[in-house]
Symmetry: C2
Subunit: 229 residues, 2 copies
């Protein structure tokens, strides 16, 4: 009953294989990048099933045949797209965490500032989060290997970076926490969970003031639970 449909295996057959096999550097054309970018937009807009390979190729300015040469499979393309996108977003988020949590002078003020920036959606990553919503909605049809690679390169990497910061901040006496990983998960949920959920329901962009209000409230709840008393 699940055999038909679903995103099938072809994980990383030829993916990035060319770059490794040939000594070619990625300068000219760079069809692979075009493909990853165009596919992200197409998958985000239409979802996996609806986004046809031909439409993706058109959006990326390549031939559909090139997709199969690079990724072997539609599923392989999807795998590469979400992992690549998740890695990029995670990189940006980690940099953001480093900037705001690297040096703590006033734990409450710094966390409030961090929360506001964190909760404010970056337009250049809108497609990514739309795609993530697609993945969550049809998680049952996404190969476990793809889910695993996405989580590992994206959310889990970010959470580990945040946890390291929180651990360090706690050791410096600004917080009181036992499980830094759990605390990191709680922090991002409290800061951006509500506004994320809310923007879904209304499908409208939130006002910055509303984002800041929910983020501030989340930080205060976090400090209520993890602050030094």
């Amino acid at each position: 009953m699940d055999s038909q449909g679903g995103i099938r295996t072809g994980v990383a057959d030829a993916a990035s294989g060319r770059a490794a096999r040939t000594g070619r550097s990625w300068r000219a054309g760079d069809k692979r990048r075009d493909l990853l970018d165009g596919s992200l937009a197409a998958f985000a807009r239409d979802g996996y099933t609806r986004a046809s390979v031909d439409a993706i190729a058109r959006a990326a300015g390549t031939s559909s045949r090139t997709i199969y040469n690079h990724f072997g499979d539609k599923a392989g393309l999807f795998h590469a797209v979400i992992v690549d996108s998740a890695r990029r977003v995670a990189d940006a988020q980690i940099i953001l965490a480093d900037r705001h949590l690297g040096k703590i002078v006033d734990i409450e003020a710094d966390l409030l500032e961090f929360g506001r920036v964190w909760a404010t959606p970056a337009p250049e990553f809108a497609d990514h989060f739309t795609l993530v919503r697609q993945v969550i909605a049809e998680a049952a049809h996404v190969p476990p290997a793809t889910l695993e690679a996405w989580q590992e390169q994206g959310p889990r990497r970010v959470r580990r970076a945040l946890a390291a910061h929180l651990r360090r901040i706690a050791d410096a006496g600004h917080l009181s926490l036992a499980d830094a990983d759990l605390a990191a998960a709680h922090l991002v949920l409290l800061v951006a969970g509500d506004s994320g959920q809310r923007s879904l329901h209304g499908a409208v962009a939130l006002e910055p003031a509303e984002i800041h209000a929910t983020s501030d409230a989340g930080v205060r709840v976090f400090l209520h639970g993890y602050g030094v008393r």
Copy 2:
């Protein structure tokens, strides 16, 4: 570029038309109910595109031809399914709100109790919320009329009922609020937003203790903003 794909119009062509035209009461077989229930399960599991009409018919124990006789269209079926399901869930939620917010003796204790019950997911409605996630993910491909009917019969109806309760409770001196509708939206988000978001990310069911903790925290934030000082 958007012309192909998408859920097309056929909203309520023949939907529920038979019941209205003929004086027939819905007793025997009641294929329509079977269809609505089976379709809910199928759409929730596979999403709109992947769920084939034949598979739905099989899941509902009917013929695929009967689907077209009743709903005219696959899109019409989807429309009927989500509206019907949303109405049922909303009914249950409104009853729940009446029970817990009808008579207030201790505003904090009552809201805490209400929040815990509200945030605890009912297994019989799991399919519905899975379907809602599908709808949100591909909202761009769902006809506006379907989105509108769903919101009206489901979320908005619930929010209005909650707002009425909050208004009454405020008039009785237990709360201080200007916009009851906004307060209702805030309450459900604070109470269930986090746990809903969190259960998505992990795809695992939350422990009751965790649900209660986040719900309690949400209620306290709500009272911090809307409580009488």
